[in-house]
Symmetry: C2
Subunit: 320 residues, 2 copies
């Protein structure tokens, strides 16, 4: 939950005047989104989301993120579309920060994940992968294996303050991951952060994929591996093979998985658990004074990593 930048009425008025959407009817900070300041912006014409990009998002990446959302939305993927101003620009400045207005998506993210959610996610994910194939821009995954090393280097000395032996366990895991990480899987644009709070459902359907600010080029199957971590573990730590099976089966109806992709899933899932373990560990060890966001427990992903370590094959993920 986060609003880091207070926008004055005058600044907002001048900003929206560039768009020709009519007058502001309501403007409320939204208690969601950790990286940026998000406002619900109700205009005479319709409702939008106004995002101010805070420092954690690199400015030079914004054309990629906004371009990608526009590209995907134009191909029928239910994601926010940037609105262009009268000058054609979708990205401008507000309160000294990069800012954009995007369309508002209906729906609600699932506080309790059901197998149906996983099934709907699987096919939406595959549709998104296909729709991104002709997107002309690219962006490396900063949070891939090389990024893990850089993150770990900043955490290694204090990792054991979170849990005894954590530094050594991560070091060993990283070494194994570097040895086994695949190199030749089908690659394209992935969202890379498809957690339940980034996916909206409405009625019986999936109504929105949001928050593309980690999107990058990586293995398509790595996205599935992230979602196995993000959607298929229960609160008690147990793995729900029904949810996983439905997600993967629905994915395959839209985009078939090759044998190599399936064989790599346990390794990719370990890597995905490592990625979130490390970013959460970093946030845990670097809580700013007066932070408005409670950091999430990194050890949750240590437990998931250990689960994947014990997996013998992708069968454990319910692949039929």
């Amino acid at each position: 939950m986060a609003v880091y930048t207070e926008v004055s009425d005058e600044d907002l008025g001048a900003f929206v005047a560039e768009y020709g959407l009519g007058n502001v009817v309501a403007f409320k900070g939204i208690a969601e989104g950790v990286e940026n300041s998000n406002y619900l912006l109700q205009m005479e014409s319709a409702t939008y989301i106004l995002t101010l990009y805070e420092k954690r998002v690199a400015q030079e990446d914004l054309p990629f993120f906004l371009g990608l959302m526009e590209h995907l939305a134009a191909r029928g993927i239910p994601c926010p579309t940037p609105i262009h101003g009268r000058d054609g620009q979708a990205l401008r400045k507000l309160c000294g920060k990069p800012a954009a207005i995007v369309t508002f998506l209906q729906g609600m993210w699932p506080r309790r994940v059901l197998p149906d959610h996983c099934r709907l996610l699987g096919s939406a994910m595959a549709a998104m992968h296909l729709a991104g194939e002709d997107f002309p821009m690219s962006r490396p995954n900063d949070l891939g294996p090389k990024g893990w090393e850089a993150l770990f280097a900043t955490c290694v000395e204090r990792a054991d303050s979170v849990r005894d032996g954590l530094a050594l366990e991560i070091r060993g895991e990283l070494d194994l991951l570097h040895e086994s990480w695949p190199t030749d899987l089908p690659t394209g644009i992935v969202h890379a952060d498809l957690f339940p709070d980034n996916v909206f459902f409405l009625g019986e359907g999936l109504s929105g994929l949001i928050d593309f600010y980690f999107a990058c080029n990586d293995f398509f199957a790595y996205e599935l591996a992230i979602c196995l971590n993000a959607w298929c573990f229960e609160a008690d730590g147990s793995f729900n093979i029904t949810k996983a099976g439905q997600m993967i089966a629905a994915y395959r109806t839209m985009r078939p998985l090759g044998e190599k992709e399936i064989a790599a899933l346990p390794t990719l899932a370990r890597g995905a658990a490592m990625r979130f373990l490390l970013t959460r560990l970093y946030d845990w060890l670097n809580q700013p004074q007066g932070a408005l966001v409670r950091p999430k427990d990194p050890l949750e992903f240590l437990r998931r990593l250990r689960f994947h370590k014990n997996v013998k094959s992708a069968d454990a993920y319910g692949i039929a």
Copy 2:
């Protein structure tokens, strides 16, 4: 900014089914309101605010607050109106906490206060005071002179950790306030927390008064005194007599002020500054671990208190 309670889709679905407003279209936590959890609730029919009352609001007071909003709204005051369920109830339980759905008000609170805002506030405040006169319930002001003593007692030992000499200065001020506090001014229902973030403006008008969870019976002129503190000081600490004058003049066009009320304004303004100094001091000294809300600077109101202390008469507030 605050969402303290996560509401699951199932709980929300069961809750709104009691109202007959159609299905949920969107549901987003709002980063406003310190005391309660507020959600924007978009239904097929219209947009509402769903509030879960957290522990700082006494449950036994909720019928007063909700009844007052309904009373005022029925008399044309632009405030949220509680929605009644099919069983007639406006107050029910969600996630084990008292909860209510109220109407959504358009507009935006002013991040930078202009004299026009103060003028519009003055007349809306007087209209609210008049509209509350036939409200049948009553509630004492817990944060009046007696409440200040109780608050001070919990802070006195640590007050000097915030500023050297603070405990002694507050003690002296409290003694003076007890001696000079008026007893026979016109009394009625006051909002008691009319800060800029509780007042919405839209176009050229005032579109909403929100957050009635401090409302109580007290001197009408005390509300004006609170607003002198809340609206008429600039960021540099200076007092803006133009804003004060416009607020009071607009108030008097709707509800005339008696001589005693005018004469008491400097004392009431000192008391109002004391009230916010003490509650902010309390919050400053009692920050919960992992708090989601940054406490506000108590000393801001010490400076305002000192300003009012040096005021010789209500002329200093721009009374024509």
